[in-house]
Symmetry: D5
Amino acid sequence: MKPFVSKQEAAQQVRVARHRAGMSWAQIAEQLGVDKEWSTAALLGSHPMTAEQAHVVQELLDLDDSTAEALQMQPYRTAITEDVVSDPTVYRFHEALMVYGPAIKELIHEEFGDGIMSAINFQMSVRRREHPGGDRVVVTFDGKFLDYQW
Amino acid sequence: MKPFVSKQEAAQQVRVARHRAGMSWAQIAEQLGVDKEWSTAALLGSHPMTAEQAHVVQELLDLDDSTAEALQMQPYRTAITEDVVSDPTVYRFHEALMVYGPAIKELIHEEFGDGIMSAINFQMSVRRREHPGGDRVVVTFDGKFLDYQW
Amino acid sequence: MKPFVSKQEAAQQVRVARHRAGMSWAQIAEQLGVDKEWSTAALLGSHPMTAEQAHVVQELLDLDDSTAEALQMQPYRTAITEDVVSDPTVYRFHEALMVYGPAIKELIHEEFGDGIMSAINFQMSVRRREHPGGDRVVVTFDGKFLDYQW
Amino acid sequence: MKPFVSKQEAAQQVRVARHRAGMSWAQIAEQLGVDKEWSTAALLGSHPMTAEQAHVVQELLDLDDSTAEALQMQPYRTAITEDVVSDPTVYRFHEALMVYGPAIKELIHEEFGDGIMSAINFQMSVRRREHPGGDRVVVTFDGKFLDYQW
Amino acid sequence: MKPFVSKQEAAQQVRVARHRAGMSWAQIAEQLGVDKEWSTAALLGSHPMTAEQAHVVQELLDLDDSTAEALQMQPYRTAITEDVVSDPTVYRFHEALMVYGPAIKELIHEEFGDGIMSAINFQMSVRRREHPGGDRVVVTFDGKFLDYQW
Amino acid sequence: MKPFVSKQEAAQQVRVARHRAGMSWAQIAEQLGVDKEWSTAALLGSHPMTAEQAHVVQELLDLDDSTAEALQMQPYRTAITEDVVSDPTVYRFHEALMVYGPAIKELIHEEFGDGIMSAINFQMSVRRREHPGGDRVVVTFDGKFLDYQW
Amino acid sequence: MKPFVSKQEAAQQVRVARHRAGMSWAQIAEQLGVDKEWSTAALLGSHPMTAEQAHVVQELLDLDDSTAEALQMQPYRTAITEDVVSDPTVYRFHEALMVYGPAIKELIHEEFGDGIMSAINFQMSVRRREHPGGDRVVVTFDGKFLDYQW
Amino acid sequence: MKPFVSKQEAAQQVRVARHRAGMSWAQIAEQLGVDKEWSTAALLGSHPMTAEQAHVVQELLDLDDSTAEALQMQPYRTAITEDVVSDPTVYRFHEALMVYGPAIKELIHEEFGDGIMSAINFQMSVRRREHPGGDRVVVTFDGKFLDYQW
Amino acid sequence: MKPFVSKQEAAQQVRVARHRAGMSWAQIAEQLGVDKEWSTAALLGSHPMTAEQAHVVQELLDLDDSTAEALQMQPYRTAITEDVVSDPTVYRFHEALMVYGPAIKELIHEEFGDGIMSAINFQMSVRRREHPGGDRVVVTFDGKFLDYQW
Amino acid sequence: MKPFVSKQEAAQQVRVARHRAGMSWAQIAEQLGVDKEWSTAALLGSHPMTAEQAHVVQELLDLDDSTAEALQMQPYRTAITEDVVSDPTVYRFHEALMVYGPAIKELIHEEFGDGIMSAINFQMSVRRREHPGGDRVVVTFDGKFLDYQW
């Protein structure tokens, strides 16, 4: 059987290949014609790509065939290990959920009733907000409200 | 020594007292003159209140003195236990971080360089976005970028 | 402040009170006019009841006011602790997920594409299926398919 | 000694080989003459196959001899790791058990007495139920009731 | 509502009450007319007793009504916590499973085929075997074989 | 240095080699002249074999020299990982200990006083007991009683 | 039923009562006529005391009847929780086992063959060894060797 | 870069090489002119060796250059994994600490005041003590007392 | 027996009592004539106080006798639970250790050789360092070097 | 695709290469013109290096190209695993945080108000302090204070 790589290995290869190619995640997204948030997540293993999308990236980053194949496989969306959680850049989001999670829950129920924000019918964005006291990172979670329906 | 309650117990009392009083979290915030996100988090134990703020809430919700005192104490900001994490309304945010955390990290570094979004110089909001396919929950995390400085 | 009980304590009281009253879960559901699966879950803390529903149950089972109040509170839906997971009657479902979870995932993706079964727009049922080799427990999970939509 | 592969490695090879062959899980099951739920689970390592079944699949998917051999080995049925549990498609089932597990337990005892649903004398199915509000995933667990007998 | 106790609390009370009454577990079993293994497990919370059985024990050990009630409740069979596992008398059985578990599995499959020993249609015994080199503890696990049947 | 394999790797090789050779565990034990329970445990890494025993098995199963060497090494007796514990065939024994462990402890103390069953001066057996309601698996743990002696 | 306390609660009471009485652990042992290591362990819950021993301690430390009763109960010997492990005075022993455990294992096997040091037929001592560079703590573990006997 | 091995890999190689060479740990220690406890620990990765010591062992056991190099590297002294802890020969020491740890702590404080036994300025020994009832393993921990000094 | 409180409960009472009394930790330290770092740690349960010190604090903060007694008890120094670790103010120190721990280890070995910084013969300080870009928190750990001595 | 190594593998190679080259961490830092604390952390994977810095180190330590490349990659700053935490040299810092963490928190809040020490705008140092009773390790954490700002 021809060799193959896992999506986790493919993600590691993409990170190194992007570094070597000197391309930004935004430039890759532009070539794919999709949001940079979606394509970065997909390249790191959280969404399956179409064969066409995988081929575009293979060309841009000079990836192996097995890597391009892995990008098309249906993922197990479990990219964050304990190691990733404790990275300071990622951890601050977990800390914010720890500090504000119960308040978010109460305010969702107050505004929408008993239910949840979908993480499937969902998109997120990462933006810069300029500010005289220092520019700010603004990350938005935007998902459809789903109410408990028996 | 006069009896006292922990911030966790105070939070449980606030939840029940609000239910009994029939007030919304937004109405409490309005009486306090602060964002509903901040006051809800504070009432659930994540921020210390001033004596004046605690007194206003005590009147609104008919709380005991020991509860009003607890609201003023400096918190250990560790409100989310494993139980809270697995509540479906809260869990979806953890799932979103699991699926998109590595992408958020890459895009923050691409836009800002090596550093983090502060969770201290920070605010969040919970809003409704109307949508023909079903209204959406929009939660925004907005924190100052801090770059690694030796 | 008047005393109150948590939803977990209320669930323990409901279990004992039902035993004392000699009523079945199905009879309670009939009095409430809802599915027995929903009402049993609600009485054990997984769904909030309306004031009317809580009052009906309070009368049927001779519950305290604080218990009836607890049944109406918005839950943290985290009723299963490690202790519950390892109870043999519950564990067999976890074992079935362990043995068949990856197959379920593949077959959902094959039939529906990339997405999930909702656990919110969802209902389940517990039925008996008569069988000459011994009657069978049939538990059905029935949730709306949600596809990943960016 | 000739090389061999574990059932976990065989499962990874089957997933990739099926993708390359462009066959559905249902088509493989049809060739084997068994339920698609059983064969998918077996191919992912949860049931041992006969030599004949393994040979059929080897031909269909162009597998190595060592992979076909692994499919026949007696499994340790522990296919779900923490990574699999947290995949959103699989997690929703765990969430449903968390929310409804105690109710399932009470209703099994009410209908059948003290005992369990067997996960050994057991079958499950994954079906689509058409619905005007969006089609639904219906997963059925069907196991023989076993009562506690000393 | 009248007070009640959990099965765990009842088990603690039974242990102390038996000590105070100076009765052996075997004597209690004899009064109940059942195996000492079953009754000891039941009194420690692992099986529900009938009202009659609970009444007999209540008389023998001078238990409260709430304790006698708890003995009749349907259990969550999760009596062993981490604390119990590490007690040396209990731990040796876990160690034996650690050292011999894989061999037990192979030998069950060799003798019976693919399946399990039931822990539900099951009984165990604890006996003394006299031996010149020191008497021996003999614990027997005896459960019906269940083969995987789809 | 000549290559070597761990006892865990040797155990995996033995399992595959036995499958290829079409021999039963009992036949191997017969060739070795020991109990099948002991030899199976030893071949899976839980007891060191003598050079003679290892040589017999090497011949029977066509093992590499490094595998035969590994069978003779002093083991770390830690063959059961979390994966092994959750295999249904092995798990039922853990469940039986969970349900009956406290009763076993009480009955050992009642019969023997304060002490333990040795897991070192110990043997176990796996037998079939024919039964009209379905044959039964009987596993016996038989260890010397050791009392606490200061 | 008369109130009772657990062995853990009894241990807490003994620690405070000894502090109040101003007695040393050695003095208590002397009154009991046993090694101070044994009696201190027993008073902290690791060994059952006879009624006579418990009475002597009750008099010395002015303990309640329920505490004296608890000292006589058969223990679950699981006195060390995670909290105790991480206490610096206790942790150093765990660290020594971490650093030297594999060497201890090799040297026991070299000297005695395949087997263990009993922790049941066992005694330990805590002594001071005077030393010009600072006095030393000498803790000795002394247990009967048990060899693996099938 | 020339290949290298970790101290863990080196320890595995040393164990096999010693078995092949038929030397005892005590003989190796004698050649090195150090205590067998120290050298065994060092060879298993818990202490760095000098180049001279590593060279002596390389000659005795016919080790590769990379193994001899690894023996000289500064260790992370974390040789005991969960697997090692649960090996019966090692576990008995953990059990003894579990049962006697609180007593050891009280007796150290009683004899020495508030402080600890050093695990750095420390040595241990493993000896045989002949005994008519069966020879005994005597393991001594001997470390300098360090008192809390601000 | 007269009531008593644990050191953990005493620490909670001290925190509330200090808040009520409006005194700073530094003022308490001044009254005790010790470093504020030491006295704050002692009042939170990490060091035993003398009877005189406990009496001074009892007067200053109007504490109960049982609280003053608890301050004198020998502690288990395990004040940080998981909750405390994840508090953002405390967590940053754990993060710093995560990021810089291996570098600290290398630099200690380079400067001092093989050994450790004592956490017993140890003091720490918390200071403000004024800085035009924002004042800085400076926490210093200062412990005696201990080299590995066999 | 050309081979690459992870930052963890690069760190292992740097440790061995430095040992082979006989250079100190301080000498490497001097060649780079940066603090030894920063460069050691960077070489062990906690900070990205510039291409120039990586090149200098490659020359000094004779590293492979892939290692030099890895040093420039953006890190996940999660260098400390459980293994690293329990190394005695690193563990003492965790112990100090365990014993003194709550006091540090109180004193930061007393001096600065509600907020944290930044671990991003941060530097640390490792120094020797000569002392007649034995030289001391002094580790200083120095980070900007950040107050909670909504």
